[in-house]
Structure formats: structure tokens, C-alpha cells
């Protein structure tokens, strides 16, 4: 049986990968994808903890995280489309003003 610590380390590696992507990438879509990677790292930790506790609560919380991720992806991509329509660019550094 794989110890819980290994799952947590994998989860931490995935979360750090997503964090690096959010900070370093110059493309709004890739930033959103990095956020998905972070959410999945959290899901893995939840399910691993649920398994060690012998409860299904970890899986239930994973469903809620998936739901929130779906809502976030829908809103985020709608914003990306609206921004691209205004500025013809996906570079987050271009979007510096709230209103013009």
C-alpha cells in the first residue's frame, strides 16, 4: 500500500506546478489551465485523506470542487472571450485598465 505521504507529495508537486504556471505564463488561457491543475492537486489530497479516514466525505468534497471548477471555467472563458474582443490579445499584461 502506498503511504499517504506519497499522495500528499504528488499533490504538492502538482499544486506548485500550477502556481508556477499562474505566475509565469503570458496567456490567459494557460493561466486558467494552471488553475485547473491546482484544483486537481487539491482533489487528490482530499480523496487520499478520505481514503485514510475510511469516509466518503473526501469524494463528496471532490464533487463540489469539480462543480466550482466548471463554474469557474465557464465564467473565466467568457471573460477571456470578452477581453479578446476588446484588445485582440490574450496577454494578461495588456489588460491594465478597468474601464476605457
Amino acid at each position: 500500500m502506498v503511504p499517504l505521504g506519497h499522495y500528499l507529495i504528488l499533490s504538492a508537486v502538482l499544486f506548485a506546478t500550477g502556481t508556477i504556471g499562474v505566475f509565469l505564463r503570458r496567456n490567459v488561457i494557460t493561466v486558467l489551465l494552471s488553475i485547473e491543475v491546482m484544483l486537481n492537486a487539491v482533489n487528490l489530497a482530499f480523496i487520499a485523506f478520505g481514503r485514510t479516514q475510511g469516509a466518503v466525505d473526501g469524494q463528496v468534497i471532490m464533487f463540489f470542487v469539480v462543480t466550482v471548477a466548471a463554474a469557474e471555467a465557464a465564467i473565466g472563458l467568457a471573460l477571456v472571450i470578452a477581453l479578446f474582443r476588446h484588445r485582440e490579445s490574450l496577454n494578461p499584461d495588456v489588460f491594465t485598465s478597468l474601464k476605457w
Binding site: 499517504l4 499522495y7 506548485a16 464533487f63 472571450i81
Partner: protein, 173 residues
């Protein structure tokens, strides 16, 4: 045991390529590979329903949404030459990268201690019944009794997100 390291390596490698890739289309497809590997890990954790949800909802619905937007915007290349605003943001970006590296080091240190200290206690779990964990029936029982309020609130969230996405993406007349 071996499958954990195989799927874990695939998930970590694919996620790294998602973050480092230049082409958003490749990133989306590699993220689907990463999700499939994570679904394999969920099966190893006695959560087959979570694995199915991962494949159907994440890889099937959310990633297709991303794919549609990437194709719709026809933006296969990243802007490599940011304007003046981009140069201004380099300092904060370096700070963010340093904080991310710090986060990795901190997490690795904490988890290595946890793994060494509590390995025997945490490896299989006290009183874990794999049959109860795997059954969709027990999952539904918990979801619709203990978490029923959160479930209802989630439906409101979905409606708000749907309306919000339509309003935001609408072409202004």
C-alpha cells in the same frame, strides 16, 4: 504500488508540460492526459466514481469548453513581446516565482516529516472498508443528507455561472 508511481509520474510530467508549453492547444490536450492519470490514481484510492466523474466532467466537458475557446480565438501562439505594461510587471512576476519556489520547498519539508512520522499509522487507515468507500450508494447517502445544503447552494452557483457566462460573452449591441 507500481501503478501509483506510473500514474503519478504521468500526471506530474503532463502538468509540467501544460505549464511550460508554448501552444495552448497542446496544453489543453496534455491536461486531459494528466486528468486520465489522476483518474487512475483515484481508482487506486478506492474511489471509482470519482475517477469516472474526473473523466466525464473534467476531461469530457470542461476541457472541451477550453478547446472550443482556444479554437474560437484562433490564438495558437503566445505573445512573446509584451508592451510597456509587460516590462513594468517583471518585478512582481519574479517575486511570485520566488514565492512559488519557497512554497514547494516548504511543502516538501513538511510532507517529508509527515511521511516519516506517520507512515505506519496513515498507510491503510483505521477501520477503512473499501466496499463502503467504493459504493455509489453510500456516497449518495452522505451527499443528499449531510451535504444537502451545500448541494442546493451548488445548484444556485451553477445557475449564476450560466447566466453570468451568457451576459459576459454576449456581443454588445
Amino acid at each position: 504500488m507500481l501503478l501509483f508511481y506510473l500514474f503519478g509520474a504521468i500526471a506530474a510530467g503532463a502538468s509540467l508540460l501544460v505549464v511550460l508549453g508554448r501552444n495552448p492547444m497542446h496544453s489543453v490536450l496534455l491536461l486531459i492526459v494528466s486528468f486520465a492519470a489522476l483518474a487512475g490514481l483515484y481508482i487506486g484510492l478506492d474511489a471509482p466514481f470519482a475517477a469516472v466523474v474526473q473523466i466525464i466532467i473534467y476531461a469530457g466537458a470542461i476541457m472541451v469548453l477550453f478547446l472550443f475557446v482556444v479554437m474560437l480565438l484562433n490564438a495558437h501562439r503566445e505573445d512573446d513581446a509584451p508592451g510597456g505594461a509587460g516590462r513594468l510587471a517583471h518585478g512582481p512576476l519574479r517575486l511570485g516565482a520566488a514565492v512559488a519556489v519557497l512554497l514547494v520547498a516548504e511543502l516538501a519539508w513538511a510532507l517529508s516529516r509527515a511521511a516519516r512520522g506517520g507512515e505506519a499509522m496513515l498507510s491503510t487507515g483505521p477501520g477503512a472498508d473499501p466496499a463502503a468507500l467504493q459504493s455509489v450508494r453510500s456516497l449518495g447517502n452522505v451527499l443528499f443528507t449531510e451535504y444537502s445544503l451545500a448541494f442546493e447552494v451548488t445548484s444556485i452557483l451553477i445557475i449564476v455561472a450560466m447566466v453570468g457566462a451568457v451576459v459576459l460573452a454576449r456581443r454588445e449591441a
